[in-house]
Symmetry: C2
């Protein structure tokens, strides 16, 4: 694996002209518009949470694709805490990645079929006429009742309040077109809009015209793939689509020494509000908030957020801190 | 994207010597051994169902990986029909891909939180002393009761009978090491063992010594990946690990014209029992069973299996046909 010497670098504009827009984009945009209008009327701050990894298909009839590792835990968990803090949430996630509320009952680690039991027929409830069943009921195991009730209460409250809108993407094309459209719809929110970009977005893509139409056949030797760089989307997001929004991006690294330098580099380039740095192996226990700070010698300020003892989810601390920063920003610090 | 002219082709033996075995392999093997021993005593046929796609990590600390498209529908659905037909099932699936029974309630299309409601406290059930809850109960919506009861009954029956063992893999390394080990444990079953290899296994891999340790940095240009061919594992499976087993492999193609030629080629090469060919876009409505047939002019026999009108799942027909073929084989046709 190597990086080639002659990169093709596309601007965001070129990218959007060259690549195909997702088929359902217009429908999604209509939903976002209605949602944003309602929240704005209610005076509620709105956060766009992106979550999960994007794919890069290698074939037009997709069999193989490049993917970025992400179960979507950070985004799904954070969305719950934003909702608790009174935000409306546009949850834009990779299809099949974790979602707020249902994330507590993953099919693999906490399968919901395992906490349901079949109870005897209830003598109080008459069997429907013409029904062939014997009136048996499905019950939740007593040991799971409290946890399930707590999640269900929150989930139903959010549904009643209409404060969450869910959108899904698969490919990096889907993601970029959707991000641009959602940001443009959020523009009227001004400083009350937050962008919490936790999705793991591919740095590389395969332009449509270079893509194989059918499944790449093996048996002809080794496979060589050459991909181009995805344009840096934070730039137009900050400069053109959401110039007043509170933009938070993430840096995931596996080499801890790169974390702060890469975060500073991103702030220098895009001049947005905050980079949250996380090391792949320690991301559930500590993250670092990196901001520009003209009063400090380095020009930057770093503050570590760590999981307090006795707590389960570092996102609770992260969102608390972010909400404070966003409040100061909304009130014109 | 291209295929290079000078392939490095590794044999299965070289591959297993070169690549690292998954850390939990020994534990999994012990479970398989106990499971196979019990089923053999009960005189039950055993089918290994593999399901979902394998990944090829591009970095040692995995951020990026190549993946094969598969939600795991074929495997999870087929496993249910094998269980209904009296088989014991070793369900070896990609982590987070669909599983038998829970597949009916995907978090995305049929989220289970949506069919639960909070009921009033039940005056018949006393509140536990010291409990802070108010005795509310979780109930299943009446509209979902029948479907959920039907799935739960089957799920509980399989759990009571102990006829399903679930194993999971992520990478193509995990998959290949696990397949070899499971096949070797199934060897004592002789002709009563079936191998239903529905997983979408990568044709290419990245040898450990060529892998980057840390996240590949972008910003240096385009990305070039060169991968080697995965050894053809059906060969040693057929010749060495499970020479008496009834081996069924799958061919997925996006070009319909390649389907039968590729299936015949696989039978010619590996001399196993059956190739099930599916076209990516028509795989839920029709598949083709391709077998060797010395009495036919071509040397092969093809029979199409199609979804009957009024039925939901083509797997029901596929498994019915397979069970008949396997019975003939077990009785020494």
């Amino acid at each position: 694996m190597s990086n080639a010497s002659q990169p093709t670098v596309f601007s965001a504009e070129q990218y959007f002209r060259m690549q195909p827009a997702p088929a359902t984009l217009d429908q999604d945009v209509a939903k976002v518009r209605a949602f944003v209008t309602r929240q704005k009327k209610d005076g509620r701050p709105v956060v766009l949470v992106t979550s999960g990894g994007t794919t890069v298909p290698l074939e037009r009839n997709v069999v193989r694709f490049l993917d970025n590792f992400s179960a979507g835990t950070r985004g799904a968990t954070s969305a719950e805490y934003f909702l608790q803090a009174g935000y409306a949430v546009i949850f834009m996630h990779r299809q099949f990645s974790l979602q707020p509320f249902s994330r507590h009952f993953s099919h693999s680690t906490n399968p919901f079929l395992d906490f349901l039991e079949i109870g005897p027929s209830n003598p109080m409830s008459p069997i429907e006429p013409g029904s062939s069943d014997d009136g048996e009921t499905v019950k939740v195991l007593p040991s799971m009742r409290r946890e399930l009730l707590s999640v269900l209460r929150q989930y139903h409250a959010v549904q009643r309040a209409g404060t969450m809108l869910t959108l899904s993407f698969v490919t990096v094309d889907d993601y970029l077109f959707m991000l641009r459209a959602v940001a443009q719809e959020m523009e009227p929110l001004g400083r009350t809009a937050m962008f919490y970009l936790a999705a793991a977005v591919s740095d590389f893509f395969l332009p449509t015209q270079k893509m194989a139409e059918h499944k790449i056949q093996s048996g002809k030797g080794s496979l060589q793939i050459e991909m181009d760089q995805v344009p840096k989307i934070l730039k137009p997001l900050r400069d053109d689509w959401a110039s007043e929004g509170f933009i938070v991006s993430f840096k995931l690294e596996t080499d801890p020494n790169l974390l702060i330098p890469k975060a500073r580099q991103a702030l220098e380039r895009y001049d947005h509000k905050l980079v949250i740095g996380n090391d792949l192996n320690r991301r559930k226990f500590e993250v670092v908030f990196v901001e520009k700070d003209p009063t400090s010698k380095s020009g930057y300020q770093e503050s570590w957020v760590r999981l307090p003892e006795g707590k389960q989810e570092i996102e609770e601390e992260m969102i608390k801190k972010l909400v404070e920063m966003h409040e100061q920003y909304m009130h014109g610090r």
